[in-house]
């Protein structure tokens, strides 16, 4: 299905973010109602059943609109983007970051999340410099400072805090963007970059806030994705 929005338009970023918020809230609401009615007894259960059906309709409606407008379902189609200065604009970065971060978070064991293209674009606009490693390092920090990933919830039993998973996902995203890849193996490259982030978690989490250490890790592994 053709996309109905242009990733280059700021208005399109806002619209996509808004639709994703509606979808996220509807899904979360449905989950909360379902979790709480199971222990409330029969009368409550019956009333809640009707409420769940209503919330389900909202969630499905939001998902349908999101699917039509965003086309974000099924296999993630990731552009083979480079991080050199001038190769990407903020909207294109935000668009790629949205798809890649969602995939990375799922690989890291996240249950639900809300990624903002607007905040990703703002993070991209905030960084300076021409060196791709420096830009990637600055983006890891800026994406977190701008709150590009919000409402993150990990699956039960996953031994990663939300804050740590955010750091690892942002590192994986940048490692992926720096890596050589063709259009047909972009997703495999992202899986590999996320797996590397997880394997390097001690180093990455220790390097939090230390730009030199983050840059050194990116430099060490960019050709090994």
């Amino acid at each position: 299905m053709p996309r109905h929005s242009d990733p280059g338009l700021p208005g399109a970023l806002l619209l996509r973010d808004a639709l994703r918020i509606v979808r996220h809230v509807a899904r979360e609401g449905r989950d909360i109602v379902q979790q709480n009615t199971s222990r409330a007894g029969k009368p409550v259960d019956q009333i809640a059943g009707a409420a769940i059906a209503q919330v389900d309709r909202i969630a499905h409606g939001a998902e349908e609109v999101a699917h039509l407008m965003l086309g974000d379902s099924g296999r993630v189609r990731l552009p083979a983007t480079a991080l050199q200065a001038g190769a990407l604009n903020a909207s294109a970065f935000a668009h790629a970051a949205y798809a890649a971060l969602g995939h990375a978070l799922r690989n890291l064991g996240a249950h639900s999340w809300l990624i903002s293209e607007v905040k990703s674009a703002m993070a991209f606009e905030s960084i300076r410099g021409t060196n791709d490693i420096q830009r990637a390092t600055a983006l890891i920090v800026a994406m977190q400072n701008h709150g590009a990933i919000a409402e993150l919830r990990m699956n039960p039993g996953v031994p990663l805090s939300e804050e740590d998973a955010t750091q690892l996902a942002c590192f994986g995203l940048m490692l992926w963007m720096l890596a050589d890849k063709a259009a047909d193996d972009a997703q495999e490259a992202l899986d590999a970059a996320t797996a590397l982030s997880l394997a390097l978690q001690d180093d990455i989490l220790k390097a939090r806030g230390d730009r030199q250490a983050i840059a050194a890790l990116l430099k060490e592994f960019r050709y090994h994705v």
């Binding site: 899986d191 590999a192 797996a195 590397l196 997880l198 394997a199 390097l200 050709y223 090994h224 994705v225």
Partner: protein, 205 residues
Amino acid sequence: MSETPFLTVRLPDSPDPIRVAVRRMRWFRASFAAVVDRIGHEIGATIEIDDAALARCFVSWLRKVEQINPRSEKIRRGFFDHAAGLMLRELINAQPCRIVSPPTEPDPANPAHFWPEGYCYTIYCMNVRAAAIQQEYGEIASAGEELHDLRTWWSFRENTSKSGATAVAFFKLFAGGTPNWQMPDSFNPNDPTLLSPKPSAPRLG
């Protein structure tokens, strides 16, 4: 010591030489999965791969190899063998394979049935080494007869459970080379046996 064939598996295509491709996580994962899948099929077992453990193994191996990586052409050939042995050590330490269902028709005399996980790790390293030295030096790799000897596999499994480092020495034995049992995982560029394999040293008990 005679040379024997071993299970060869078609590794994924790569635009890069094998020595470069194996240092990329994407190819490493895909090639490891190809070997494990083939062995599972051969022995009638279902073998799962723990991706996180495999990634830890890759990082650990890569850092060690990048640290040593000799530039001298004279010792580079010997380093290919050593790097493959180090990979076996890391795989045995990380244990990324899990047997979901054992071989359907167990054959107690077959090393692949005796220790399927260890067999996967060993055959993977044998295949990557073979592909790399064929590309770089035009050599056709074979295996030492110990690769098919169950008593050696008993010793291999027991010794590596106590010290992963011995995996490097066992790998050299399996590849038809001369193991260094004293300091198995240290690379000595002046080792005269690097380029010309000699009869095997005594096995560990």
